[in-house]
């Protein structure tokens, strides 16, 4: 009987541990090409853990450079209300519409990366642990369409003109949408950081307004290889927005649930 037991143990050991010697997986270099990655971070002035997420994105931005485009949407349910002492209210109706359109977030910090659904997650808002990996994954992909931005700003009447050019690399079938929005960086105001209320926190990449529909304008023109589609938008920048820190972000994406994936994005400063 003891012999049987030993044989059984040996067989189990071989099956389980026979291949204990593990080959290390090669780690690739950070691959930054022509693909830009859009990160839409869901945040709020009273969200205690969100600044950790923002810091992680700032670090990634420093490393990746202009290929990483971050938009901070102040619409985290239950956490987005400003304090009585706050100078600004970063919430906007369009921002809330946009946040709801992307999906449901049930933890914070949360951000969508190119609005991708990453199984087994069931919503595009992803936990911080996987942001860097997904961003890097997308950076290595070639964009199927080019997005180019031109802006001009008149400091006298504060008119901002935006021209977006879309240049597909191949024929793109199905519905595609274009979203154009304005962000403002480095706004100093109250923010909850863990348990503390910080009065002079620098809010990054704050979504200010959306020039298209929040869900994106459906592109009626066929997206065929070598075609060039141009869209123009105009707005008057409110006086309390510091144009030096404002950016225009444009991106082309799918727009029907569950596929809202962003194909390519572009960002440019309002002042050059």
């Amino acid at each position: 009987m003891n012999k049987n037991i030993l044989l059984g143990l040996a067989a189990a050991g071989c099956a389980l541990l026979g291949a204990c010697e593990e080959k290390p997986i090669p780690i690739p270099e950070l691959n930054v090409g022509s693909r830009n990655v859009l990160v839409e971070e869901l945040t709020g002035v009273q969200c205690p853990n969100c600044p950790d997420g923002t810091a992680a994105l700032v670090n990634l931005g420093n490393q990746i450079g202009e290929n990483l485009i971050v938009v901070s949407i102040h619409a985290a349910p239950g956490y987005d209300k400003p304090y009585a002492e706050s100078k600004y209210d970063f919430r906007t109706a369009k921002g809330s519409e946009l946040a709801n359109f992307i999906g449901d977030a049930s933890f914070f910090p949360a951000a969508s990366i190119n609005r991708r659904l990453v199984p087994p997650e069931t919503e595009p808002y992803l936990p911080r642990q996987i942001w860097a990996g997904i961003i890097n994954e997308d950076l290595g992909e070639a964009p199927p369409v080019g997005v180019f931005l031109e802006t001009s700003f008149n400091p006298v009447n504060r008119q901002l003109d935006v021209e977006v050019t879309l240049a597909p690399e191949s024929n793109l079938n199905g519905e595609h949408r274009l979203t154009v929005l304005i962000t403002q960086d480095s706004i100093q105001d109250y923010q909850k950081v863990n348990l503390e209320k910080i009065p002079d926190y620098y809010h990054r990449h704050v979504l200010r307004d959306i020039l298209t529909q929040s869900t994106g304008d459906v592109i009626a023109e066929p997206l065929t290889a070598n075609a060039v589609i141009t869209k123009k938008y105009t707005m008057i920048l409110p006086v309390n927005w510091d144009e030096k820190h404002c950016d225009v972000v444009a991106f082309i994406h799918h727009g029907t649930t569950p596929n809202k994936e962003v194909l390519q994005a572009a960002e440019t400063h309002v002042l050059k």
Binding site: A15, L16, I25, I27, P48, P77, I130
Partner: protein, 546 residues
């Protein structure tokens, strides 16, 4: 295709049950558990800001299981349903329904064969435990096959392979493992025996997880960069020694290099949290003695880097392959249970002593001591709780205790520093008649930390065998010098959290309806905890076995 197969299986199962119900020999059993929550917004206590409070107003969960045994086969199927449920994520909403479990089991001579969604564990679960804990939304059944073989009455071996369940899906990683367990009677007269065991589990990451791991690591600075591999192996050796009234369990486990997420490690580029590739180990022992009115359990545990998940990106209660035994008791009274420790997979050491002594038939005393540290000797949790129980004939019974607690809320909940509490508590049970009883609870949690002190009282009238009516209130004691504290600490001052409920029991069926106001806190089971947000609303619960 998968759904189609499941529906075919369900239909076949129902047909089989119908067919064989007409014959003798078959045995059908089952159970139903349903929860319904009506959410009522109350901004004062923070019952707001979730989809249920803002829009949905109602959330429900239900599990209906049916088991059938015949011809040496055991089989079962379970329907799970979640409608706008906050069980998966306390601040989110989850809706889905489907077959939550099915299984088939058959014993053929010395072989034991199972397939489907399987619950099982090796040893105390340190390297593998597939189990269900509905209150925490843990259901990490293994979808796979298991083969067992009994050499004789004393020795058995098992092997299994599969993928871990995730709601109505599975994780990509493959888990496989096995164990050999025995029982040897060394001395029949002196009642000495040993029950040794050995187990091993391997996890192979799927391609998608590997890609995610390497893409994540590729963004790290060279100083933070770490290696990665497909396979991780965990092995455990355990034994229970019985000598008369003594019992001693010991288990030691080792895990080979594994990429795990360490939320406390800082990257050189700044920011907390990064992937590390490291091996880990854990040791657990428990010593128990029972006899002559005395019962003692002494436990100890040491853990280093023993986080074992289906992939390194799973957080909270998701994707846990193993279970590390907790080093603190599960308090049942409301206020002593307010600060419960979450098992630290990345590193902790601690011990727990639980002793009971019956002085005579009327009077018994107890003491529970728990002391847990991080590996750098930072104190995490210290609980000292003496308790006394006095029974007066069969008329009434009084239980009184005192909990002295030090709780590292910075580590467990990411806020403040330490919470120090002193909580006296008492429970008095009075029997008017053998069927009619009154139970009264009173507790006072005294602290200057977190939100400050709380008081709790409960009165419960029992009319056996059917009815139970209870009313309770948890009250936030006001700070005497409120203006000296930040608003965050005093925001619940003076608030009442009343509950009023009724329970009806008929045989194995239990219905309960309650109006509940419940403060935010931590809900734990077996050292696994999750945040429970404030609740205000009506709770309807039904459980039934047949």
């Amino acid at each position: 295709m998968k759904k189609h197969l499941l529906h075919t299986f369900t239909l076949s199962f129902i047909c089989l049950v119908q067919l064989t119900a007409q014959e003798n020999g078959g045995r059908i059993s089952g159970n139903l558990q349903s929860n319904g929550n009506f959410f009522i917004t109350d901004e004062k206590i923070g019952a707001t800001g979730t989809p249920q409070y803002d829009n949905q107003k109602f959330g429900a969960e239900s599990w209906l299981a049916l088991n059938y045994s015949n011809w040496g086969f055991d089989m079962g199927i379970r329907f799970d349903m979640f409608n706008n449920s906050n069980l998966l994520n306390p601040t989110g909403s989850f809706t889905d329904e489907g077959i939550g479990r099915w299984y088939i089991h058959k014993e053929i001579h010395k072989f034991d064969l199972s397939g489907g969604y399987l619950y099982d564990q090796i040893g105390s679960g340190i390297i593998f435990r597939a189990y269900e804990e509905r209150a925490l939304m843990i259901d990490n059944a293994l979808l796979g096959v298991k083969v067992g073989y009994k050499f004789n009455d004393r020795w058995k071996i098992k092997a299994f392979t599969g993928r871990q369940k995730r709601q109505f899906n599975t994780y990509g990683s493959i888990i496989r493992g096995g164990s050999l367990e025995g029982f040897v009677k060394l001395d029949t007269v002196k009642n000495i025996s040993i029950a040794p065991g050995f187990g091993a589990v391997a996890r192979t990451l799927d391609e998608e997880s590997v890609n995610r791991v390497v893409n994540e690591i590729a963004t790290y600075a060279p100083q933070d960069s770490t290696g990665a591999q497909y396979n991780t192996y965990a092995m455990t050796l355990y034994n229970t020694l019985h000598i008369g009234n003594f019992s001693w369990y010991v288990e030691g486990a080792y895990k080979t290099k594994d990429v795990i997420y360490n939320e406390f490690e800082e990257k050189v580029t700044g920011g907390l949290g990064k992937l590390v590739n490291t091996d880990g180990y854990t040791a657990y022992t428990s010593f128990t003695y029972g006899g002559g009115g005395l019962g003692i359990t002494l436990e100890g545990k040491y853990t280093k880097n023993f986080r074992f998940r289906t992939d390194p990106f799973q957080i909270g209660v998701q994707g846990q392959i193993n279970f590390l035994p907790p080093m603190a008791r599960q308090n049942t009274f409301r206020l002593p249970a307010r600060f419960s420790p979450n098992t630290q997979e990345l590193g902790e050491k601690g011990f727990q002593l639980d002793a009971r002594y019956a002085i005579n038939k009327k009077l018994s005393v107890g003491l529970n001591v728990s002391d847990i540290y991080l590996l750098d000797n930072t104190s995490l949790y210290r609980e000292i709780a003496p308790e006394v129980t006095f029974k007066y004939k069969r008329k009434w019974q009084l239980l009184a205790g005192l909990q002295v607690l030090q709780y590292n809320i910075a580590v467990y909940q990411g806020k403040d520093d330490y919470v120090h509490t002193v909580t006296p508590y008492a429970e008095w049970l009075y029997k008017f008649t053998p069927r009619k009883s009154l139970r009264v609870e009173a507790q006072y949690l005294n602290t200057e930390d977190e939100f400050g002190s709380w008081a709790f009282a409960l009165v419960e009238l029992g009319m056996a065998p059917h009815w139970l009516i209870y009313v309770s209130d948890m009250y936030k004691i006001q700070h005497a010098d409120k203006e000296n504290f930040p608003v965050e600490k005093t925001k619940f001052d003076g608030l009442h959290y009343p509950t009023l409920g009724i329970v009806y029991t008929f045989r194995a069926n239990r219905f309960s309806l309650a109006y509940v106001k419940q403060v935010e806190g931590i809900n734990c089971a077996g050292g696994i905890c999750r945040y429970e947000p404030t609740f205000h609303g009506v709770r309807l619960q039904l459980s039934s076995s047949f």
